[in-house]
């Protein structure tokens, strides 16, 4: 009995740090509507700062706690910097830009921490006076855990007082509901946003600092906590502090007890729980429906148009160059171009889902990886020929998308995005943990094409045909009645439903189609590299796709190709540096701030109307955002 009680208390103790981080994310999202991907990085920084401050301030009991508070303040200052320099300029931009920018911050913080504290894991200092062990019904338990159990509810109480007993708290709650109205009543929203962001960052920092004696500090903490924090905020209900607390306890208990029952599957358990809760209560345990009306400003206001004559010439020229490329370039460059084409197809499929479907997926790599694994598993276990495996790759990915999409299309906006991320994480953990079948982290090797297609040149042409064919198919669908219907559901769900479009079915079909196309790209990738690893399904890979779409510009159909090329180039150029994450992260942030329409979008802005790249230059009037910047 004592074992279970202690296990339960351990769960409560680990819930505290999780709750602190999650409440911070939740508060920030509630007011600013920004899902801060860098929140895990703030948590990690809290641990590192705490480690350093404990060393500096000294070992006394008071010094230890002062050091932890100082760490929270320091992280608050980092949050202040991020808000002032980056996010403040992006509040009116589409969600995607904020996400990508905060993803850039993750990379920057990773390298900053590597530079400042080194690659070695740091062993956390122990809390002076609290290093002992108590016995609860005979089972030992660290005293510090009892302190942690108290911290969660104490912070919850402090936050409750802040939000219910101060004017600032009232304004924050009002802004969570209707921030435009708060502004119209004379409250400076910028100050409110900054304050909220700093508070949220401090909570994450404190969370990272108080877990030091238990977990120490390491460079993998950021992504580790991020997934858990997402689950907690989504399960608890975005913007609800009590919900975050409840969910943190629930998830921590699931983890501590789940490890007794199914040691390898805790991650899967966690995400299954999240999926079930979101299907039953789409806004989370204590969450409320999103305020309707704000979300519409997703920023895809410019209609896509069929290609004009000049654009067709341009594409024809590009295709001719690609077809002739093997004559001019060496083998290494040919492989590089193959990679770009495969990634372009992957990015185009995501772009289709986002721009035409209005569905921002954070987990699109699940289908890219799904296609790659379909092909690899067929070759490995069914000794399937290359041709069949390649053709079945999109089918397998499409079926995966059908299952995942069936759950996801019930939600919209941020919840849709987070659920796709959650399912992609499940897919990743299955590939990672089910090593009897997938060979885990060692991957599946020897996935080569048939002899006739194994030459670099032949495979290049094969990839060219499939990628260009896939991209044209996607473009064809955009301008087919199905595409028009999809755009109608994107622009006005209610009106589309009123004219007889089955919204969920339409969105599910788009999801499956995009998944199948990503799967085709994944299949090509598997055969071009001869191997598949779980990395192809991971969150960073999903972000690669988002980044390519962003680089290319969300509003242009040819964008993903430009994005894939730019991405591959950047990746190859920067990866040779020791601090390449810092460079990539800074580049991402700079790009988002400088070119909110992406590279192709920016190029089109400056050259497009001049070169008549679109069918109807009259109608391609500048978007208001662009106009505002010109003014």
């Amino acid at each position: 009995m004592g074992v279970y009680l202690v296990q339960f208390l351990t769960g409560l103790a680990s819930a505290s740090a999780l709750f602190l981080a999650a409440s911070g994310l939740s508060i920030i999202f509630g007011v600013t509507r920004v899902v801060n991907f860098a929140h895990g990085s703030f948590y990690m920084l809290g641990a590192y700062f705490g480690f350093s401050f404990v060393q500096m301030v000294g070992g006394g009991a008071i010094g230890f706690w002062v050091a932890l508070l100082l760490a929270a303040v320091a992280v608050g200052l980092v949050g202040l910097l991020v808000e002032l320099v980056i996010l403040r300029r992006l509040y009116k931009a589409p969600e995607l830009f904020q996400l990508i920018a905060t993803f850039g911050v993750i990379l920057i913080v990773q390298d900053a921490a590597l530079w400042a504290w080194g690659a070695e894991d740091l062993l956390g200092p122990r809390a002076p006076g609290l290093t002992g062990i108590v016995r609860i019904m005979g089972t030992p338990m660290p005293v510090y855990d009892l302190v942690l159990i108290a911290v969660g509810p104490l912070v919850l109480l402090a936050l409750w007082l802040l939000f219910n007993r101060t004017r600032w708290g009232v304004l924050v709650r009002a802004a969570t509901e209707d921030r435009e109205m708060v502004g119209a009543l004379g409250v400076n929203q910028s100050l409110l946003f900054t304050g909220v962001f700093v508070l949220g960052s401090m909570l994450a920092g404190l969370g990272g600092a108080i877990q030091l004696p238990k977990g120490g500090a390491d460079l993998l903490m950021d992504f580790g906590i991020l997934a858990e924090v997402f689950v907690v905020t989504v399960v608890g209900g975005m913007g609800s502090i009590f919900g975050a607390f409840l969910a943190a306890v629930l998830i921590s208990q699931l983890n501590t007890f789940g490890i007794l029952i199914w040691p390898g599957g805790t991650l899967v358990l966690m995400f299954i729980l999240m999926a079930v809760i979101l299907i039953v209560r789409p806004t989370g345990l204590l969450g409320r429906p999103e305020t309707v009306g704000h979300k519409a400003a997703a920023g895809f206001e410019q209609a896509l148009r069929p290609a004009g004559p000049h654009y067709k010439l341009f594409v024809g020229g590009l295709l001719a160059c690609l077809a002739a490329a093997p004559v001019f370039v060496d083998e290494f460059q040919l492989v590089l171009i193959t990679d770009i084409m495969v990634l372009a197809l992957f990015a185009t499929s995501l772009h289709f889902l986002m721009s035409t479907g209005g569905l921002v997926s954070f987990g699109h790599a699940a289908f890219y990886g799904g296609g790659a694994y379909t092909a690899a598993l067929l070759v490995t276990y069914a000794a399937s020929p290359f041709e069949l495996a390649l053709l079945l790759a999109p089918l397998g990915a499409g079926m995966l998308a059908l299952v995942i999409g069936w759950f996801c299309v019930r939600l919209s906006g941020v919840y849709f995005a987070m659920l796709t991320l959650a399912f992609a994480q499940v897919a990743w953990s299955v590939a990672f943990q089910w090593s009897e079948v997938t060979n885990g982290d060692d991957g599946l090797l020897g996935i080569w094409p048939s002899l006739w297609a194994s030459g670099t040149q032949v495979f290049y042409y094969l990839a060219l045909v499939f990628c260009v064919g896939g991209i044209f198919l996607i473009r064809r669908v955009v301008f087919a009645p199905f595409g028009y219907g999809l755009r109608a559901t994107r622009d006005s769900t209610l009106r589309a439903a009123a004219i007889g479009i089955d919204i969920k079915r339409q969105q599910l079909m788009a999801f499956v189609f995009a998944g199948a196309m990503a799967g085709l790209a994944g299949g090509l990738f598997a055969f071009s590299k001869g191997s598949v690893f779980p990395d192809e399904m991971s969150i960073p890979r999903s972000f690669d796709a988002l980044l390519m779409v962003l680089l290319g510009g969300v509003e242009s159909l040819s964008g993903p190709f430009v994005g894939a090329a730019a991405f591959t180039y950047l990746h190859d150029e920067l990866i040779t540096f020791e601090y390449w994450r810092l460079l990539v992260g800074s580049t991402i942030v700079a790009l988002v701030l400088l070119f909110p329409q992406g590279l192709a979008g920016a190029a089109k802005h400056h050259l497009g109307r001049f070169l008549k790249l679109e069918a109807d230059p009259e109608a391609a009037a500048p978007s208001p955002r662009r106009k505002a910047r010109e003014a």
């Binding site: 509901e177 109205m181 708060v182 502004g183 119209a184 009543l185 004379g186 409320r288 206001e301 009037a621």
Partner: protein, 233 residues
């Protein structure tokens, strides 16, 4: 004291207001009247800085309001009562008033929560209730009270009678008259000519984003042609 001169406003790329001019003098109630979609709310939102105004001039007292963000415009003393009420449903009545509170302003009446509870007895009884649980009429009262907590020097009142029962509309008329006795000028947007005629001194008739008529309320009452052309349903 409030003057709008030849403004042009846009929603995205759609040109909504053309050449709209109007003025509001101390102590008067002016109605902006027109059909659904004529541009009434857009005019009010343009003054508040919530809609992009590309040309023209908006001045209040000595201040130029063009290009200012909404919170600055509110701080200058323009009180905005939005259409569809927009109370903070998850805050109590008192907390809603707190959210509207701004420092006292010279030359404008100073309101405390208790003054407003005297003006709106229904709200006094509901002060600790969540605003989301109030009736439509009570919410309309609350949104007016919330704006008054900002001690404005003039009020923009956007379609206050919309969707309310006649008995509630009568209460709102009383409130508007009360506010007028404090010398606060009000720009009222309204579709209902009868309601407007009970409280307004002057009227502007707006249709498809242009001012079609301006004159005293009596002149509008007597001009059957304007009424038929722009106000008849």
């Amino acid at each position: 004291m409030l003057s709008v001169e030849k403004i042009h406003s846009y929603y995205g790329q759609a040109h909504i207001l053309s050449d709209v001019s109007l003025a509001l003098a101390p102590g008067e109630i002016v109605v902006l009247i027109g059909r659904n979609g004529a541009g009434k709310s857009t005019t009010i939102k343009s003054i508040m800085g919530m809609v992009k105004v590309t040309e023209g001039q908006i001045r209040f007292g000595g201040d130029d309001l063009m290009g200012e963000p909404p919170h600055r415009i509110a701080q200058r003393g323009i009180g905005y009562v939005p259409e569809e009420r927009r109370v903070f449903t998850r805050l109590t009545v008192l907390e809603n008033l707190e959210a509207g509170r701004q420092p006292a302003r010279g030359g404008a009446p100073h309101w405390q929560a208790e003054d407003l509870f005297a003006l709106f007895p229904n709200l006094a009884e509901a002060r600790h209730r969540l605003a989301g649980t109030l009736s439509g009429g009570e919410q309309q009262m609350l949104t007016i009270a919330r704006t008054l907590m900002g001690n404005p020097g003039c009020i923009l009142l956007d379609e206050p009678s919309e969707g309310l029962a006649p008995v509630v509309v009568e209460q709102i008329i009383e409130v508007i008259k009360q506010i007028k006795t404090q010398g606060l000028p009000i720009l009222l947007s309204e579709q209902n000519l009868y309601f407007a005629s009970l409280v307004s001194d002057r009227a502007y008739v707006i249709e498809t984003g242009r001012i079609r008529f301006s004159g005293t309320m009596q002149e509008l009452q007597e001009n059957a042609e304007i009424r038929r052309q722009y106000l008849a349903v």
